[in-house]
Each structure stands twice: as structure tokens, then as C-alpha cells.
């Protein structure tokens, strides 16, 4: 595939991987229990699903606070800053180049884990979709306290619709995300990176200045 030499690079730290897989489990469990509560299917029953969903949801909320803490103390947040640079190239790559075996226009490195498309996607996810889902979920869970908190203007059906639409969006993301894992230089390359932390990256890849994490 690539013309350059491949170099084994440590991309994802232990905490990142732990967080990634913990969040994966949480999201999968929340999707399953959530759609069970909604009545899309019946596997474990409504009551069990509600209890699990609440517990996991709250657990995720707490763990997410750790992640926010981590991302700011390590400066990793900078990897989520969106950019339009090379965005067109990346989009073009996934639409055309990938079928012709062209190299990725913005290969991954330790200092630049996300290509422009990923930056935007993950930023929207971490800044918008997941927080909305957490807030709507928390409100849903705390329905009985609304009166005490002066939230009587809220409407449970609206909260539930927001929560459900976000759940569908997260599921859509999940499908796309899982597929995109296979688009590395080898089908298993990205997966290996998120499991072991190491990924083979073209050694002659120049990390351009705008991509670099400023520390």
C-alpha cells in the first residue's frame, strides 16, 4: 500500500484505551437496556433494564468526569480542535481514494491521532451528542425531583424524545465507527492500535505543524 516504511508507534496510552473500551461497554449496555425500556425488544424485561440503565448511565456520567479531567490536564483536548485544513482531501479519500488504494492524506501519529474528519466527528460527539444524551438521561432519571428543582416547565415526553433521538444517533455513529476501524492500511491495524496501543505508521510521515499538539 504505502510507499514509505512502516514504523511501530505507540499511539494510545493505557488510560485512553481503558476509557475507550469502558465507554464502549457502557454505550453498548445503555443502548441495549435503553431500547429494552423503549420496548423495541424484550430480553431482560423492563424493570431490570431500567435499573441497569440507570446504574450504568450514572456510572458513565461519573467516569466521563474523569475523562474530562484527563483530557484537560494532559492537553489532549487540543487534538479535538476542529480544522478545515485537508478536510476536503480526507473526505475525497474516503469517497474515492480509498477504492484506488491511495494513501491516507492525513496519516495518524502519536501527536496527531485524529484526521480532520475525526476531529470534527469526535468534537461533535464529545461536546454535543454525548453531553446532550447525558443531560437528557440525567433529567429523565431525576424526573421526580423536577418540582423541587423548579423544572416543572420541562416535559417528560420532550426529554424522552431528545434522549431517544440521541440514542439513535449514537447507534448510527457506532455502526460507522466500527466500520471505519477496518479502513487502516490493514483491516486489523486500527483495532490493534486501540487494543495494544501500538500502530504501524508510515515512518516518513511528516506531522505538519498545524497538527502538532502544542505542549
Amino acid at each position: 500500500m504505502a510507499n514509505g516504511q512502516m514504523k511501530n508507534t505507540y499511539v494510545f496510552s493505557r488510560y485512553e484505551r481503558l476509557w475507550h473500551w469502558l465507554q464502549t461497554l457502557a454505550i453498548l449496555a445503555l443502548l441495549c437496556t435503553g431500547f429494552q425500556v423503549k420496548g423495541l425488544f424484550n430480553l431482560i424485561g423492563f424493570e431490570k433494564a431500567v435499573k441497569l440503565h440507570n446504574t450504568i448511565g450514572l456510572g458513565w456520567l461519573i467516569a466521563f468526569a474523569f475523562f474530562v479531567f484527563w483530557i484537560f490536564t494532559t492537553g489532549e483536548w487540543k487534538q479535538y480542535i476542529p480544522t478545515s485544513k485537508k478536510m476536503a482531501a480526507v473526505v475525497r479519500y474516503y469517497l474515492r481514494g480509498i477504492f484506488k488504494g491511495e494513501p491516507h492524506p492525513v496519516p495518524r501519529s502519536k501527536d496527531s491521532k485524529h484526521n480532520p474528519l475525526q476531529r470534527l466527528t469526535y468534537l461533535l460527539l464529545a461536546l454535543l451528542l454525548l453531553p446532550i444524551q447525558m443531560v437528557s438521561g440525567f433529567l429523565y432519571w431525576s424526573y421526580n425531583n423536577w418540582e423541587a428543582w423548579g423544572l416543572t416547565w420541562l416535559n417528560l415526553s420532550v426529554v424522552s424524545i431528545v434522549h431517544l433521538v440521541c440514542a439513535f444517533a449514537i447507534l448510527s455513529f457506532l455502526i460507522t465507527h466500527v466500520y471505519m476501524v477496518t479502513t487502516g492500511h490493514k483491516v486489523s491495524a486500527h483495532m490493534r492500535a486501540m487494543v495494544t496501543g501500538w500502530e504501524e505508521i508510515e515512518s516518513d510521515t511528516e506531522v505538519e505543524e498545524w497538527e502538532k499538539k502544542r505542549t
Partner: protein, 548 residues
């Protein structure tokens, strides 16, 4: 992992900020305890109850004299209990009228309110008033101020041998008499024995009438029948003889002969308070003893008690032992075969047809229907105009989701067909009970005469034209509280076709969904799937897919 996450609060403690968040927002992060506090509270409240007495009525000379009738016994009672009849005269057990309604409206069974069983007591007094705690209410001329007409014995005697004759207007028989209705022989009471046995009322006393309303066992309420004379805890956790063995008056607390618990136009209990807040409260509400948050701290069930009555979950079905009447179609009555009235038995062993009364449906272990209920019932009278094109609600639970005191409450709904005045658009009072030669339906077999006579005795107009209309009557379900193992499960309501499928006006998780949202969501998911499949296939059949 789940086990760890379950203990979310200690975990949150290490997170610092979220702990604040959670603590602020969770109102009751109390210590985990397997015993529901509401249960503990109530059990403490009912420990070692024994009603003590200071007099043995068997010793009293006045009760050893020769009696020949009920009123003579009453006179003897009143010679010591001089205020008893005066007190009793003020109660609904005596007046059979709603004490809180304007008397001119005649709300109550002694007035012109109706049901869809035997419709009205007017013109049918001698039969219906066999359940009046009085003697001789045989027609409209009954003297409600006569103290000697109070029947002390039916509520207080403890021999279970005191029986009022079914058509005796409240009197027992003076010589052995067969009741044609069921072929049973009624014997005159041993007056001395019954009079000397008196004590506080037991389940048996109350059940004499309340288990047998509507002319027979288990006909009316569904949650009150003779199975509660000797129930086990599975049938009723409070009355079960293998448990606390409550009598009715244990909860229906009584002051000056006024028994708490009847709900007409005003709730049986006006507010929701427990004995901890007011120890003089009637113990008529579950909350009186169990508190408003009786379940284990932090359990979702406690979040329900503001909108869902305890009964809704804790009485999964009523009539769990004896079938109760669910439908009564008067329009088919009168069928005879070779001059003899037809009687047919149904699948439950109870009659499915009786020539005097029409078609019946009986059901056992019935799932209640649910309504918002603030404790008050609106009652139709024989004067009110009805819409015969619809099912007429003869009484209707009052309340809506918006009312803070209204909660979702279970009801037995008894449906039926009964006569109405086609011209005046009112329900009709039939004169049913009477001998051959009278206008009574069971004597003349002529509905026109029966309605004419019934309405005339009620002082109400009848055009002479009648037809049949479908009606329903609601009984609040509050007895036959099941053990906690048998409560209604979450998904029995939180599902599209669940118990609360018909209650609209609010969003309920698991029950309600929005088709448009579902369609958009599913399109989103299916779109993503298709996109990645197409993309993947593209790669598979292009250079990238060939191993790069």
C-alpha cells in the same frame, strides 16, 4: 462491574465534583436496608392489639328477659347505652344518604342514585333493607327518628346465628321460614344468646351485608366477599388469619358509631397524612400506617406514590377466590320454558342466566381498570339526563392528573344494560320485588308496569316509553391486598398494551412512543448500515480490498 456501579454513591465520593452533584439531586441517599420502612412502621403500630372490656353482657339481667323482636332488644341496649341510637342515627349506615350532599338532591341509596345491579331500593324496600341496620324499613313511611328501630345486633352479636330474613325489611323471622330465592330455611334467633354475645364488630358482622351486597355473595364489590371471613395472607396481607388477622374496624376506625371509609361526593380521607402526623386520624388510608414513602429508600416505587395509589400495584387482581359479577343485562329477563322460569349455570358455577334478572357474566381474578381518582365519586341520579347513544357511567371517579391529590387507582367496573326513559332521557327505577298481582316485575313480568310503579314511588316522571341502555358502575378496589411477592410488575403498566393503556394525557416510559421519532431514528440507523455496507463492498471489489 455492575456490582461496583450499583454502589454508585460511594464511588461517586472519589470523584469529588460529581458527588456534590449527585448528593444535591438525589433526595434520599439513605443507608441500604432490605426492610421497607413503611412495613416496619406499620408493624410497630399494630403490635399486641387486644380490645379490653369491663362488662360481660351475659351477666346482665336485662338481657336475660324474654324477647320476641329486635326492637325489644334494642330498647334493652339503649337502657344503658343511652346515646348509641342518637349517634347511629347520624351515620350513613342509618340514613343511606350522602351526608355531605344537599338533601334535596337525594344522593345516596335511600335517595334517587342508582346502580346497575337491582337499580334502586325505592319500591323494593323489604328486600334491599334486609341489609339496613334497622328494623321495618318496608316503605317510604319508615320513621328514621325511632331509636328502637336501630338494629344493634347485626353489627355486634358474635354467635353468627343472627340472620335477617332477605325480604323481611330488616327483621329476622319469628318462625322458621323458607326463602324462595335460594331455598334456605331461616330460623328465629335465640334472642338471649345473641343479645348476650355482643362485642366489637368482626369481619363476620360487617360481611353480613358488605360481602353480600347486590343480593348475594361476591356480587357487587369484587374486593369484598365471604372469602374474607377466613382469609389467608395470600388473599389479604392484613386480614389473613395466618398473619395480623385484622378485623374491618382495624382500619375503618370508628368514632361515635361513625365508621370511616365511605366515599361519595367527598373522599373518605380528605388529605394524605400518616398517624405520625396526627394520631387521631382514621386509619383508612394505606399511608395512615405505612407513610407516603413506604418502600426501601431509593427504590423507584417511592417515586410512584405521588401519582399511583398503593392499591394499583398491591392489588394485582380482585375476586381471587370467589367469582364476582361483571356484567348484568336486564333486557333479557323474563324467559320461561313451559311456564317455568329459566335458570342457566355459567362456566364459573354461578348462574349465567336467571329469568328474574337476565344475563350475567361472572369473573374470577379480575384485572382492575384504572382511573385518576381524588377520592370523590360523581353520582348519577334518576333525575339526570343521559346520552343513551353512549355507555352511561352511573358513577364516575373524580380527579385528573393535574390534581395533586388525585392518583391512579384501581376499580372494578360493573357493566350492564338497564331501562331508560326514551322521551325523558333518564334512567328508570324498576319496581322489582313483589308478589303476583302487584306491578312489581317479579309479579307482573311487565316492564312497563314495573317502571311506572318504580318511578311513581320515587316521585319522578315516566313517559311510558322505555328502552335499554348500556351502563357502567365503578367500585374502588382497596381490599384483597396481596403479599409483596405478588405485586403488579413494572412492565404490566410500562408497556404499550399494559394495564394503563387507556389512561391518556401524560407520557409514560415503556408505554408511549412517537411513530415519527421512531421512523427517523430507524432510518438514521439503517442509513448508516447501508452506507457502510456499500462502502465496504466497494472496497472489497476495488484495489483497496485486494489487500493493498
Amino acid at each position: 462491574m455492575i456490582a461496583i456501579l450499583r454502589r454508585k454513591l460511594p464511588l461517586a465520593g472519589r470523584a469529588g465534583l460529581p458527588l456534590w452533584l449527585i448528593l444535591l439531586m438525589v433526595s434520599s441517599p439513605g443507608p441500604a436496608d432490605d426492610t421497607a420502612p413503611g412495613r416496619t412502621l406499620a408493624q410497630q403500630a399494630v403490635q399486641e392489639y387486644e380490645a379490653w372490656i369491663t362488662a360481660d353482657h351475659a351477666d346482665m339481667e336485662i338481657l336475660q328477659q324474654e324477647f320476641t323482636s329486635g326492637p325489644e332488644v334494642t330498647q334493652a341496649c339503649l337502657s344503658c347505652h343511652t346515646l348509641a341510637a342518637k349517634q347511629f342515627h347520624k351515620t350513613i349506615h342509618w340514613t343511606w344518604l350522602d351526608p355531605n350532599a344537599d338533601p334535596s338532591e337525594r344522593i345516596g341509596k335511600a335517595g334517587i342514585t342508582l346502580n346497575n345491579f337491582c337499580i334502586s331500593i325505592i319500591s323494593n324496600w323489604p328486600r334491599c333493607t334486609s341489609c339496613h341496620a334497622g328494623y321495618g324499613w318496608k316503605d317510604a313511611s319508615f320513621d328514621f327518628s325511632d331509636e328502637t328501630k336501630v338494629d344493634c345486633l347485626v353489627c355486634h352479636e358474635q354467635t353468627s346465628t343472627y340472620k335477617k330474613f332477605p325480604t323481611g325489611a330488616g327483621h329476622p323471622v319469628s318462625k322458621p321460614t323458607v326463602f324462595k330465592g335460594n331455598g334456605k330455611t331461616f330460623n328465629p334467633p335465640d334472642w338471649n344468646l345473641v343479645a348476650q354475645s355482643v362485642a366489637r364488630p368482626t369481619r363476620q358482622n360487617c360481611g353480613n351485608c358488605h360481602f353480600r351486597g347486590g343480593g348475594g355473595d361476591a356480587v357487587k364489590h369484587g374486593d369484598l366477599d365471604s372469602s374474607l371471613e377466613h382469609p389467608d395472607m395470600v388473599l389479604d396481607v392484613h386480614m389473613g388469619e395466618d398473619g395480623k388477622n385484622f378485623d374491618c374496624i382495624r382500619c375503618h376506625s370508628t368514632t361515635a358509631h361513625k365508621v370511616a371509609g365511605r366515599a361519595y361526593s367527598t373522599p373518605a380521607a380528605p388529605d394524605r397524612r400518616s398517624l405520625l402526623e396526627d394520631d387521631e386520624l382514621p386509619r383508612i388510608m394505606c399511608e395512615s400506617c405505612h407513610s407516603a414513602t413506604p418502600h426501601v429508600s431509593g427504590s423507584k416505587a417511592n417515586d410512584h406514590t405521588d401519582k399511583v395509589a398503593c392499591q394499583s400495584c398491591h392489588i394485582p387482581t380482585f375476586a381471587r377466590v370467589i367469582p364476582t359479577k361483571m356484567n348484568w343485562d336486564w333486557s333479557t329477563a323474563g324467559r320461561k320454558k313451559e311456564g317455568k322460569g329459566v335458570i342457566e349455570k355459567g362456566p364459573t358455577g354461578k348462574p349465567s342466566y336467571h329469568f328474574k334478572k337476565g344475563d350475567f357474566v361472572w369473573e374470577k381474578s379480575v384485572v382492575p381498570e384504572y382511573y385518576w381518582y381524588n377520592g370523590a365519586m360523581q353520582t348519577l341520579t334518576a333525575e339526570d339526563t343521559i346520552d343513551p347513544t353512549r355507555v352511561v357511567a352511573i358513577n364516575m371517579p373524580q380527579g385528573s392528573k393535574a390534581e395533586p391529590n388525585a392518583r391512579i387507582y384501581p376499580f372494578k367496573v360493573h357493566r350492564g344494560r338497564q331501562g331508560y326513559d326514551v322521551v325523558n332521557k333518564t334512567l328508570l327505577i324498576p319496581h322489582l320485588v313483589g308478589k303476583k298481582g302487584t306491578a312489581a316485575y317479579w309479579g307482573s313480568w311487565d316492564w312497563n308496569r314495573a317502571f311506572t310503579s318504580g318511578m311513581e314511588q320515587a316521585g319522578l316522571p315516566f313517559s311510558g316509553e322505555f328502552d335499554w341502555v348500556e351502563t357502567k358502575y365503578h367500585y374502588p378496589t382497596t381490599h384483597m391486598v396481596a403479599p409483596k411477592e405478588n405485586v403488579v410488575g413494572c412492565s404490566e403498566c410500562h408497556s404499550p398494551e399494559g394495564r394503563l393503556a387507556d389512561l391518556s394525557g401524560f407520557y409514560m416510559p415503556g408505554r408511549d412512543s412517537y411513530r415519527l421519532v421512531d421512523i427517523i431514528g430507524l432510518l438514521m440507523v439503517i442509513g448508516s448500515l447501508l452506507a457502510v455496507i456499500v462502502h465496504g463492498l466497494g472496497r472489497l471489489f476495488s484495489r483497496n480490498g485486494q489487500g493493498g
